[in-house]
């Protein structure tokens, strides 16, 4: 499958789900760019959604650069960055109304609060929340608290009729982690070199 087709295929599958749904999206590291294009450009942006992008893997700046390199519009993306602060990599001058920092990926309650804040400010009819990724959050949190976090977060997002996508990297996933994600998700999608 070509990269473009993979991204479109993913967007088509996401387009079939209803609001309030939670999707587990397992991907290969090699497919990160296609996943970004499929989720944000071909799914969320085309439907005029506001996207809240929670990043615990790489900084919001790095993701922004990737999106810009892919020529993807970032004007409707709001970042909750859980990693820049602990990497001592964020400065006030880099922040704007599209970016909120959480001091540490261990502050899961604050992460939920920032998502809540951004959703409340959003004027868009449809909203998407992306968690990138469960594997990165698992580095800093034990499975017990992670499971509790996902349950509360996803339940809250459902009540707000927001779409949620939880990314996991198949190379780094464990059966326990997959179980935690599957427990709260309605649907599982896979984006790898072979198929979506």
């Amino acid at each position: 499958m070509t990269d473009v087709k993979m991204a479109q295929n993913l967007a088509d599958q996401l387009g079939e789900i209803s609001p309030s749904s939670a999707v587990s999206l397992q991907m290969s590291v090699d497919n990160y760019l296609e996943v970004l294009r499929g989720m944000i450009d071909l799914f969320a942006n085309r439907r005029g959604m506001d996207t809240v992008y929670v990043t615990a893997t790489i900084s919001f700046e790095a993701i922004k650069r990737i999106l810009q390199a892919l020529d993807i519009d970032t004007s409707k993306i709001y970042f909750v960055d859980c990693i820049s602060h602990i990497m001592m990599g964020a400065s006030a001058s880099q922040l704007d109304e599209h970016t909120t920092l959480v001091e540490s990926p261990t502050m899961l309650e604050n992460l939920m609060l920032k998502v809540e804040y951004l959703l409340r400010r959003s004027q868009a009819k449809e909203k998407l929340v992306i968690i990138d990724s469960i594997n990165s959050l698992a580095i800093h949190n034990n499975n017990w608290i992670l499971s509790e976090f996902l349950h509360i977060l996803v339940s809250g997002l459902r009540a707000k009729e927001a779409y949620s996508i939880i990314l996991s990297v198949e190379e780094h996933s464990t059966p326990e982690l997959n179980n935690i994600v599957n427990l709260v998700c309605d649907q599982g999608l896979r984006a790898s070199g072979k198929e979506v």
Binding site: N110, M112, L113, E116, R120, I145
Partner: protein, 249 residues
């Protein structure tokens, strides 16, 4: 939230999470102790309570004891729902208690019983004149320092609560406690005679400092007694449940 038969009328705080915790809001005319150590968000929460009231058309009064109200307003969170016209229209009024002390001739370091009555009467008279439905005293601890004895503190708070309750005014008394304190108030009296206690705290967990809120007691309503984590944002105080998996300090 629909009221159940026999339940007391609510003062909807406008703080979503708190109203949920309180099953609809603070029972109208209750006097609440909002207590916590410094930096926990007490003043911000109390202010938000008043602003929501003023936005709804309820006359709201902030009695500032520790901080000059101009300075307070300069440092207010840029709430999206706050409009300075609320102050201009008189729906949101700020009074500095030291100015009131001066006008009442209360220049001594310690107030006597007669002066306590005078102070309560002055606050009640002002609240009546303004038609106040929501009132905040920030902080009651600073007032208590001028009362000194438990008897006088008890007398003052009981009389003030009664006077405000008679006016159908829902009140928040902000109380300061030292970090890590085991009681809910500095003098140990305030907590016993208030209708409700809302505890705000800084909780350290694996090096992270979380702001928390917990309703300890609230007369006239059922309420959650769980601990919540809060954030002070331009859309107001937001609350989420404290994750129990991380409760090992």
């Amino acid at each position: 939230m629909p009221q159940r038969t026999g339940e007391r009328e609510r003062c909807v705080t406008g703080i979503d999470g708190l109203d949920t915790i309180l099953y609809g809001g603070i029972p109208r005319a209750n006097t609440i102790l909002l207590t916590g150590s410094c930096g926990t968000g007490k003043t911000s929460l109390a202010l938000e309570f008043l602003i929501h009231g003023a936005v709804k058309g309820e006359s709201s009064l902030f009695i500032s004891v520790t901080e000059n109200s101009e300075k307070l307003l300069a440092n207010i969170i840029p709430y999206l729902f706050f409009d300075k016209s609320l102050i201009k229209s008189g729906r949101l009024v700020f009074i500095d208690l030291p100015v009131m002390y001066e006008r009442l001739g209360m220049t001594k370091a310690e107030l006597d019983m007669e002066e306590i009555d005078l102070l309560v009467a002055a606050i009640a008279s002002l609240a009546k004149e303004l038609g106040t439905r929501r009132l905040v005293v920030d902080s009651i601890t600073s007032v208590c320092y001028k009362l000194r004895t438990s008897e006088k503190i008890r007398d003052f708070i009981l009389k003030l609560s009664k006077a405000l309750s008679d006016l159908d005014c829902t009140s928040i008394l902000v109380s300061e406690v030292a970090a890590g304190a085991t009681s809910y108030s500095m003098f140990g009296v305030e907590e016993a005679i208030s209708d409700g206690i809302v505890l705000m705290a800084n909780m350290e967990r694996r090096g992270d400092l979380l702001r928390t809120l917990q309703v300890i007691k609230m007369r006239g309503t059922m309420h959650s007694r769980a601990k919540y984590v809060l954030d002070l944002t331009p859309v107001g105080v937001l609350l989420v449940p404290l994750l129990k998996g991380g409760s090992i300090v």
